[in-house]
C-alpha cells in the first residue's frame, strides 16, 4: 500500500470513530472534544486531496472558532445531571440514517465516475512524469499551487456569492448580538 493510502485509511478510521463519539457520548463536553478531533482529521483529509488552503481554513474556522463557540455554549448551559439523552425518535432516526447511508454508498459505488485516474491521466504534482500532455501539465500546475486559482475563481466567477457571503456574516453577527443582549428593563 502507498503511504498516501495508509494515511487516508487511518484518518478515515479516526474520523468515523470520533463522529460516533460525537453522537454517542453521554457527556456533552466530551462529545465536543470528539467534534474538534473530527474537524482536525477533516483538515488532514483536505491536505491529502490537494486542498491546502481549505485545510488551513478548516483549522482556523472550524477547529478554532466554531469549536470554541460550541464549548462556550456547553459551559454556559450545562446541566450535569441531564447528560445527553436522545428524544423519542431514536429508532426511526437510526433506520433513516442507515437507509440514507446505504443509498448514497450504492450510488457512489455503482456510478462509473469519469476521474483522472480512470482515464489514465497523470495529473498529481508529486508523481514521476515524462512526456506529459498539455492537459496533464495544466492540471498538474493547478493542483500544485491551488491558492492563486481559488483566488481567481473567488474574485471573478464567484464574486457575487463572495460579496453576498460578507452580507450574510454581517447579518449573523448583528443577529447574534441582538439575541444574546441583556434587555435594559430586566437588568
Amino acid at each position: 500500500m502507498l503511504p498516501l493510502d495508509i494515511a487516508f485509511y487511518s484518518m478515515s478510521a479516526v474520523m468515523v470513530v470520533s463522529a460516533l463519539g460525537v453522537v454517542l457520548m453521554r457527556d456533552l463536553f466530551r462529545a465536543a472534544l470528539f467534534l474538534v478531533l473530527s474537524f482536525l482529521v477533516v483538515a488532514g483529509i483536505f491536505v491529502l486531496l490537494n486542498a491546502e488552503f481549505l485545510a488551513v481554513a478548516q483549522v482556523l474556522i472550524y477547529a478554532g472558532a466554531i469549536s470554541i463557540l460550541i464549548i462556550f455554549a456547553i459551559m454556559l448551559t450545562r446541566n450535569v445531571h441531564e447528560g445527553n439523552p436522545s428524544n423519542g425518535f431514536d429508532h426511526p432516526a437510526r433506520i433513516l440514517a442507515t437507509l440514507v447511508m446505504v443509498s448514497i454508498i450504492f450510488v457512489a459505488v455503482t456510478t462509473d465516475w469519469n476521474t483522472w485516474d480512470s482515464l489514465g491521466l497523470n495529473v498529481l504534482p508529486g508523481d514521476p512524469a515524462e512526456d506529459l500532455s498539455y492537459t496533464e501539465q495544466g492540471v498538474r500546475d493547478v493542483f500544485g499551487n491551488t491558492t492563486p486559482v481559488i483566488a481567481r475563481l473567488l474574485l471573478r466567477e464567484f464574486v457575487l456569492p463572495f460579496e453576498v457571503a460578507s452580507v450574510v456574516l454581517l447579518a449573523a453577527v448583528i443577529g447574534a448580538l441582538a439575541l444574546v443582549r441583556e434587555r435594559e428593563e430586566e437588568a
Binding site: F8, V16, V23, A51, N84, M101, I104, S133, L153, R156
Partner: protein, 131 residues
C-alpha cells in the same frame, strides 16, 4: 484512495450526523451533528474537485487524448478558464464553511437566549410557538 472511498467516508459521516440531528434532545448536540453533516459534504465537494474530470476537458474514454483535448490544452496554457474552474468544488466548500460559521453564531445565540428565558436546552421543551 479513490473517489469511491472518499464518497463512502462522506456518506458514513453524513448519516452519523443525520442520526444525531434527528435523535438528540440537547440543542447543542443537534448543532454539533449538523456540523458533522457540513464536514461530510465538504469532503465530498473537495473529493469531486480533486478527482472528477470537467466536461471542458474532452478526453477519449480509452485514455488517448483527442484532438479537441489537445486544442483545449493549448488554450489552457494560455490561461483559459477551463483549468481555472477545476477547483469549483473547493470554492463550494469555502462558502459552506462561511455559512456554517454564520449558522453556529446564530444558533448558539438562540441557545443562550432560550436557556436564559426558559432554563432549558431541550428541543422537545422549546414549544413557545406551538399553536
Amino acid at each position: 484512495m479513490s473517489l469511491e472511498n472518499l464518497l463512502i467516508l462522506s456518506a458514513i459521516i453524513f448519516s452519523i450526523g443525520l442520526y444525531g440531528t434527528l435523535a438528540k434532545r440537547n440543542v447543542i448536540a443537534v448543532l454539533m451533528s449538523i456540523e458533522l453533516m457540513f464536514n461530510a459534504v465538504n469532503i465530498a465537494a473537495i473529493a469531486f474537485a480533486r478527482y472528477a474530470v470537467p466536461r471542458g476537458i474532452a478526453v477519449d474514454p480509452v485514455g488517448a487524448e483527442t484532438e479537441i483535448a489537445r486544442a483545449y490544452g493549448e488554450a489552457m496554457t494560455l490561461g483559459d478558464t477551463v483549468l481555472n474552474t477545476l477547483l469549483t468544488g473547493q470554492i463550494f466548500a469555502i462558502f459552506i464553511i462561511t455559512v456554517a460559521a454564520a449558522e453556529v453564531a446564530l444558533g448558539l445565540g438562540i441557545v443562550i437566549a432560550l436557556y436564559r428565558n426558559r432554563e432549558t436546552v431541550d428541543v422537545t421543551r422549546a414549544n413557545l410557538m406551538r399553536g
